[in-house]
């Protein structure tokens, strides 16, 4: 019963840990956007429980963990999750592979917003390698979707 109440929070916690886990530099480039993926799943599955508010909080935690200016990731996260939350009824009917493409586009959008904000604050310049997480997020989505759906059905979350 306890676990049922905290399942969503725990899955988001796991995503945050995966997002900041130290990795060798060569693997680090391809790290999927774990937090965005897990948030996207819950937004599509239970939009009345997880939406922009939770996204904002998670973005803020990411900002603190990654040492960027407060508000950068939270803004990007809010906008990306808004797009998904506004269209959840349509997106639910898509097949998992179509969803993966939508998730890929969303994560590209998210990465570009973060880059754009960082570019305004400090003068970083764009490298195409910054976009590798988009590909890895798309590849990981079907498996994550399957895993989280299993979790949701097992615990009958609604």
């Amino acid at each position: 019963m306890q676990f049922r109440a905290y399942a969503i929070a725990l899955s988001l916690l796991c995503a945050l840990v995966l997002q900041i886990m130290p990795m060798p530099a060569s693997v680090d480039l391809y790290r999927p956007e774990w937090v965005l993926l897990v948030l996207s799943y819950w937004t599509l599955a239970l939009p009345h429980r997880v939406n922009i508010g939770i996204a904002f909080i998670n973005g803020l935690i990411l900002d603190i963990l990654l040492g960027s200016s407060l508000g950068v990731h939270s803004l990007a996260m809010c906008v990306s999750i808004y797009v998904l939350a506004a269209n959840y009824q349509r997106l639910r009917n898509y097949s998992v592979w179509q969803q993966a493409i939508v998730i890929g586009v969303t994560s590209a959008f998210y990465n570009l917003i973060v880059f754009w904000l960082q570019h305004m604050l400090t003068d970083v310049y764009f490298l195409i390698t910054y976009m590798w997480p988009v590909v890895s997020s798309m590849v990981i989505w079907p498996w994550l979707f399957w895993l989280l759906r299993k979790l949701r059905r097992q615990l009958r979350l609604s």
Binding site: I52, S68, L70, C78, T122
Partner: protein, 286 residues
């Protein structure tokens, strides 16, 4: 709980609220630097997450040390003994030179700054934020770490402390695009400013005139002029100079002496100055 008729503020209002809050946070944090002390608490608040994320790597490390073979250890031991012998020989010479130097300095009435307190810190995490180069070390405000403190490794200067939390702190590497450090050329004392390029193995030197006496392979030492870094530690080595007369300045690139991509143990320095000022501040306080 009917998702068709949702209650509470609409999605658009939530988005607008989130955007306004984020933008004001960005402006407050970046433009006015308004979270100076709050960030210490925020960092301490999320540090359990960082320790949790570090756990698998530490477990692998620990099991690797257990599994390392007897032969390997013997080899390493022999190598370290050799190194220690060489070092101690250098050290004997060093004490002599140090004394001589301080005597000469005294004659000139300008004592060199001594760094009294040193502490070794260990790398905890490397940020995966591709836009900035920061690392996390396992010493914090409880150990007396302060913002702007110089961080070194065994080869040279690594960076400076950017944010402090109670048990760990964040180091901005010299390769970060927002970082710059005043240096001088070891060969002829020419003063330069080395700024980060955003990639770990390259640094840029800006505003160098075409006639400046620079060569490839010149060693750049910290000049201590910015009052952040101590004087005389190696920073970088010049790798390429392009003297294109159509441009206003020569394009000079350098390579950091410290191995920024394979840091493990780091050295924190407390300068005598700071300690004195801290003590005097404490004395004045009551």
């Amino acid at each position: 709980m009917n998702p068709i008729f949702s209650s509470g503020p609409s999605l658009q209002n939530k988005l607008a609220f989130g955007l306004i809050l984020s933008v004001s946070l960005i402006i407050f944090d970046h433009k006015f630097n308004g979270f100076g002390t709050t960030r210490v608490y925020l960092n301490s608040l999320v540090s359990p997450l960082q320790y949790l994320a570090n756990l698998p790597g530490e477990l692998i490390d620990a099991s690797l040390t257990r599994l390392s073979s007897h032969e390997q250890l013997l080899d390493e031991n022999a190598q370290l003994t050799l190194q220690a012998t060489l070092m101690s020989q250098e050290l004997q010479r060093m004490t002599f030179l140090k004394e001589e130097n301080s005597r000469l300095r005294r004659l000139l009435n300008s004592p060199a700054k001594q760094h009294t307190r040193k502490e070794v810190a260990e790398l905890m995490a490397v940020d995966n934020n591709p836009y900035s180069h920061q690392i996390l070390i396992n010493k914090g405000a409880l150990n007396g770490v302060y913002e702007g403190q110089a961080v070194l490794d065994e080869n040279g200067i690594v960076g400076q402390i950017m944010q402090v939390s109670s048990t760990n702190s964040r180091v901005l590497l010299i390769a970060d695009i927002t970082h710059a450090i005043p240096v001088r050329v070891a060969r002829n004392n020419l003063r330069l400013v080395v700024s980060g390029s955003g990639s770990l193995d390259e640094l840029h030197i800006q505003h160098v005139s075409h006639s400046a006496d620079l060569k490839e392979g010149d060693l750049l030492l910290s000049s201590g002029l910015g009052r952040v870094f101590p004087e005389g530690y190696p920073v970088a080595e010049i790798t390429s100079i392009v003297r294109d007369e159509t441009r206003p300045f020569a394009v000079v690139r350098a390579k950091p002496v410290a191995q920024l991509d394979r840091l493990k143990y780091l050295l924190l320095l407390w300068s005598e100055d700071d300690e004195n000022s801290q003590i005097s501040a404490e004395e004045e306080a009551p």
